[in-house]
Symmetry: C2
DNA sequence: ACCACTAAATGAATGGCATTCATTTAGTAG
DNA sequence: CTACTAAATGAATGCCATTCATTTAGTGGT
């Protein structure tokens, strides 16, 4: 009990506890005490948190704001999650189900990794504040995350990876993906040396030429500087790891 | 004025504004009003922040705690930095000077990159809360950071990299380094699937075999799981990027 | 020598935040 | 009927970054 309350359905995650704030104008407040029908559950909290994040960003994700969206007192949340960190874990695990692992099983190992890595990066580029949470998250209590690892592990195994290289390879790819997700959110002028440009001639020249290298792919899909760097690194990792297979 | 106050010396960064709290028992408080000799400066704030972090971690780095270490009222800090974020930038830039770029110029490009990447990862593994700050930090107001980029850019240029590939290559390496820094801090049992192990056979097997792969290097230098993954990824990137050179 | 200005400190707010606790009410097991 | 547990409210609590009015000290100009 206590943890199994909402894991039954798995996917839908948008079931109970909606509409009150939407249908009623949020007018008459609930009186104190347990309501006849439960207002909150983990699935509802998760989807409300996602809505809130997409509207207001992670700065706007406060327990108070979350409670307001759910038309509930902030303290009520603590009957369902132990802390704000818990809420972030719920969100994180939900996002993992959005990562595209469909290539494993169908496509070649190389193409499967490409599809997986790009979608993984894209998902978390929109949620970089979760990266410190994920990167250190024991997988135990994150079913979607575990499911992703299982699919990817099987893909590597089927591709002929020696057993003892599978986890390190995945970890290395993930590290690259997390770092690259930050890169997506960096400002365009991140490498503008400003007034110190004269004292850094090599760097300044390299930045200038990378910009002109970009012009070729202007208006293209995946043509931002962050995409160029990601593609370059990813292809190197795929080539390097591909050579490990027997 | 206003920004140039402490950039003069560059390296030492441990000069002014010390000892007051250490020598005097912190007994008699300073009376209000500007003191004859300035108590605070950026170098002092930076080194106090570093001390505080090493003693109490980043959770312990609060403006109040920092003020206490410096024997000053919290509001006094705001005469020297605009925000806590500013303090983090000072710390970040100082840490960049600890990254070992000495390989560029002496060693082969491969060895220089190895030295640089390992030390970069090691430094920030101890300071992961700064990663979200760095990854998105315009380089303009971070002199040490800029200096590092200059040295590395020159190393890549001298090694025969085409100009338009230098920045993307460095960015890709950095992304991998940042992600890998998190990995160092992950708990040992991060991949323990717990009760769900039966439903994830491929993943569970891979985790088991990666553990036994580790035993070989038990007690070794750079033998932790995070080190294995980092080496694997780094060597793949070096090999892949090395092929770009003309 | 005086005056205006700026720089650097104190100390007292301010508002936001996560979290806790006492209380109330509703279902449920014996 | 009676405990007990679950799920809500609402009123604290304590911490945190930041701001502001005030005080004092040095500095440049006349």
């Amino acid at each position: 009990m206590l943890e199994t309350t909402d894991e039954r359905a798995g996917m839908p995650a948008l079931s109970a506890a909606q509409g009150r704030a939407a249908t009623s104008g949020g007018a008459q407040k609930r009186r104190a005490g347990r309501p006849s029908a439960a207002v909150l559950d983990k699935a509802g909290i998760t989807s409300a948190a996602l809505k809130l994040v997409s509207r207001k960003g992670y700065d706007g994700l406060t327990m108070a704001a979350l409670a307001k969206v759910l038309d509930v007192a902030p303290s009520a949340l603590y009957n369902h999650v132990a802390s704000k960190h818990d809420v972030l874990l719920l969100v994180e695990d939900h996002l993992m189900s959005l990562v595209d692992v469909s290539g494993f099983g169908g496509s070649s190992w190389e193409d499967a990794v490409r599809t997986w890595a790009w979608s993984y990066r894209d998902v978390f580029a929109e949620h970089t504040p979760l990266i410190p949470v994920i990167a250190v998250l024991p997988v135990t209590d994150a079913p979607q995350t575990l499911a992703m690892y299982e699919t990817v592990s099987k893909g590597f195994s089927d591709a002929g990876f020696p057993q003892d290289r599978i986890v390190p390879s995945i970890v290395a790819l993930e590290s690259f993906i997390f770092g690259s997700a930050y890169d997506v959110t960096a400002p365009e002028d991140i490498f503008d040396a400003g007034s110190m440009a004269e004292s850094t001639p090599y760097f300044t020249a390299a930045v200038r030429h990378s910009a002109s290298g970009q012009e070729a792919s202007a208006g293209q899909e995946r043509g931002r500087p962050a995409d160029t760097a990601f593609r370059l690194g990813l292809e190197a990792l795929i080539a390097g790891f591909g050579a490990i297979r027997k």
